[in-house]
Structures are given as structure tokens and as C-alpha cells.
Amino acid sequence: MSLNRKLLTISDLSINYQSGQGTALAVQNVSLNMGENQFVAVVGESGCGKSTLALAIIGLLSVPPAKIESGTIEYKSVDLLSLKENDRRKFRGTEIAMIFQEPLTSLNPVYKVGDQIAEAVMIREQRNEHPESVGEIGVMQKTYSSNDHALPSKVHLPRFSSRDRTPTILDALKLVRIADPEQVIERYPFELSGGMRQRVMIAMALSQKPALLLADEPTTALDVTTQAQVLKLIKTLMSEVNTSVLLITHDLAVASQVADRIIVMYAGDLVEDSDVYELFSEPLHPYTKGLLSCIPSGSKKDKALKPIPGTVFDLTKPSAGCKFASRCSRCMDICRAKKPVLVETKPGHRVACFLYGE
């Protein structure tokens, strides 16, 4: 396992949204790294930019309202943002896959589940068969020649029927621990339960053997028991399938159960980035501390939950200082005047707060 090989490097990424109310700075100067076989969770309240970040990575941002103002997203040393849409598309599915929050509406209602997975498998097969030998993508191939993720060129639609792929599809469903896959492939999405559908989505995504799986609040729409099951499944699969996972969630407790590393975002800023144990034992940023104290737990039974005072930052209003300043119990004068930058207080632990240096 090569922990030093960077799978994903995001540098100074800024994304804006144009709306009737003005320009919202959805993501501001975010930089992060991810390696292979890592489970990273991006945690934050709704509107903090975490979903926007994920969509930008896979390239599914609606570009008229959204706009990538600056920064780079490097995947396996390829600058994704410099690619034309057609080339960018070739990374979707088989390199970077994504699963979404609502599994019912995220699956096509008129096709059987098996056929939808077959489609994913088909794309994988096509790209395996026609690896590009020139260009940036070719460079990547040489750097990662030992790995399984071959890169695609033109995607031709083959005439194979989904029957040829049944074993692969059944394997994918078994991988996500679905008990009777032969039955399930004949079902339509509305016939399955929420948990089953999410498993199907995971199976479909993983059947394309991506190196990076983005999971945008995959369990939020599910009941608590199913939530735990699905998360545990994703974690287990990560090692079985050799895929890194970037989990987007608002639930720090959930993230802590499965992630190796946690990145905390607030109002478009990356405020803390650390190993999960370190985050819980030594949280640095006041916002992180606030989030931790919001987690209900058995040991705090008789105490009232401590919510973070104030309201969420308005992204359309620019601020000179730290965005959390108005809600921060440790706010200093400098916090209102200047924006804190990320500093690495310990190897592997970054924080953007004036409490810990300039």
C-alpha cells in the first residue's frame, strides 16, 4: 500500500454560484490531498460547500450557475479542470464514481436494476478495451501502469446484451451483501427498499472499479439501522475493492465511525483536517469543538446539548475576517480583520485559526 502516492490533490479551489440574490462563494481556497485506500470524510453543515466540492471533483457541477473561479483538481497527476468535457467524461465512473443521497430518484425508474448495472459494467469494459495511448491520459497510464484502472478513449456503444454480463452484475450485488441477487436484477428501483437501493447504487458504482468513490450523504435518507449497515458496508468494500472513499456528510458522529481522516468545512472554507482519532482527542478549531459537543452521547446524559450559537454564515456577503468569528467563543480582534490560513500544527493535522499561529 503506497500511502505517499497522491490520488487526488486539490489546490486552492474556489467555486462561486450566481443566483438571484448575488454571488455565493460556495468553496473558497480549499486545498486537500487524498491517497490511495484512504477513507476521508468531509463534514460540515448544509451549505458549507462540501457537496459542491464533490460535484466539482467528478465534474458534474451545473456550470451556468456555478463557476470554478480558480484552483486545480489533480487526479493521478492529471489536471482535471484543464480537460475538455469529452476527456473529462472519461474519468467519470471508471476512475471517479459518485453515489448520491436519494437512491430512489437516483435510479432510472423505467429500467430494471440489473440493466442499469449492466450499463455501468459495459462502460468499464469498453474503456478497458480501448485505452488511449497518447495525450495526458497516456501519461497517466505510464505513471500508473501497474494498476488496474485503464483509461478510456472514445466510448462506442456495443451490441452486447446485458445477459453476457450477468455474472459480473451478480458479483457486484453479492459484493454489497445482497442476499438474492438473481431476483434483484429483475426488479425495478421502486420495488426495492431504501437500503437495498443504496446498496444497488454502491454496487453499480463499484462495478466500474473506480479508484475514488465520492459518497454524497449516502445514508441521510435512510433509517438509522440501515444507515449503520450501509456505512459499514462502504468501509469494508474499500479494502476489498481497492478504492478510496470521500464521504460527504453533515454528521460528524457517522463520519467518525468509518473515516480514517476528517476534513471540517465551514461556509466554504476548509477549517480543520486531521486524522479521526486526533480530531476527537485534540480538536483544534472552535467550530470543530462546537460540532463535537453537539453529538449526543450516553456520557452526557444529564446535560443539555450545546448548540453552536448564531446562524449559518451568508455566503453572498463577503467577509474580511474569519467567517466563524461571529459565532466563536474564542474570537479575537485579528479574527475579524484577517482571514486565517491553514497551518500544519502537527504532521497530518491542519487547522485554519488564529489561535494556532498566522
Binding site: 448520491f100 430518484t105 432510472n108 423505467v110 462502460i123 466510448v155 425495478y188 421502486f190
Partner: protein, 249 residues
Amino acid sequence: MTTVIAETLPYTIQIAFFAFVISILLGVTLGVISARYHHQIADKSIRAFYLAGICSPSFFAALVLLIIFNLELHLLPSGGAVGIGIPAPTPITYIPILDSLIEGNFTYFSSALQHVILPSLSLAFVNFGVVVRVLRSSMLDVMHSNYIRTARAKGLDESTVFFKHGLRNAMISVVTLSSILVTWLITGTIFVENIFAYPGIGQYVFQALTTQDYPGVMATTLVFAVIIVATNLVADILYVAVDPQIRLS
């Protein structure tokens, strides 16, 4: 009464069939283009075109087409179901055009086809606009769904996403529309068959009206209504076949 219906109904079915096919083909094609280029020139021109259609009375459209294609261009015949003196095909399905095709009687078939085009086109011109509107609206809705986002996330190219995932779902709304469309088409034959002297049920109703044979008209109108309701039911059954959610629940 029943002999009259037996003699005239097949011809009305012929017109209704071709009118339906043209309406759907034209409507879906233009609807897709309108959706794909929505708010651009193509969309606006298509809207102007179908607006002219749905705002015209069917008899007006029929007359205009007759003038253009028969009187001016001499391309198509002005009346009747088939050219004079061409032998009729043997009744197999009792629908002449179909019978001639099965039999291989291509003289009849081609003549019958030429005679059915203008009436069908008149009806289609007046009705296809609704198909365009419905499909366009449905496509625009569908393309914003989550499953379209998933299809793109899988790495599919945009045209596969648009047609295989988008259009397939949008078509459901057109299928629902079909039963109403057919009833409008059949109703329109009252006018169109008269103008093109096409021997169908619509023309029979019209004759009864002009001779002021009102009891006859009442009877025919009732039969007409029954046929329409029956077509409605058939179309509703077909709808079930198309949408898996209805079928299985």
C-alpha cells in the same frame, strides 16, 4: 346501420392511424429539438409552427393543404380513398390498405397511400402541437432528475443520457396523451373526410347532418362516441404496458 359502420369504419381507421403516426413522429422529433435547444431560435420557430397548427380549424388546414398539394402542385389527389378503377384487395383484416399490403397488391396500396396522405396530414397538422408541448415540457423536467445525474456520473456520453435515459422517461407523458390524441383525430374526420370525399364514418355523419336527418345523426353520433370511448380504453391499456410502475403495482 351496422353495414354502414362496417363499410365506413375501416377508412376512418386508416386516416386516424396515419394521422396518429405523423402526429407522434412529428411531435416527438420537434419536441426533442425544442427541449434540446430550449429558448433558442429552433425552439421558438417550432413553437410558431405548431401554434399555427393547433389554432387552425381542421377544415381550414385541410383546405389549405388541398390547395397547395392538389390545385397548385398537382402532387396528390383531391378525393376518394383510392384511384378510380383499381380493384379492391380481398378482405382479410377488413382494412383495405392493410389487406392490399398483405396481398402484395401494390397498385392499390400506393394509390390508397396517396389518397390517405392529405387527410391524415390535415389532422396531424392541427393536432401535433400538443405532442410537441407535452414532450418538450416532459423532457425539460426529466433532464433535471437525479437519475440523469447518475447516468452522467457513470460516464455515459450526453446523447445516450439524453435519449436512452431522458427521452425514454419523457415518452411516458406522450403515451398518456395518445388516448386523447386519438379521440381528437377521430373527431376531426367529420370535417376532413368531407373535404377529401373520403368514405369513412366522419363523412357519413356529415352527410346525415347536411340532409338534416337528425335522428340518423343522433344514432351515428352515439356510435361515434362509443368508438371513441373504446379507443380510449385501448390506449389506456397500452399505457399500462409502457410504465413499469403501473404494471407492477
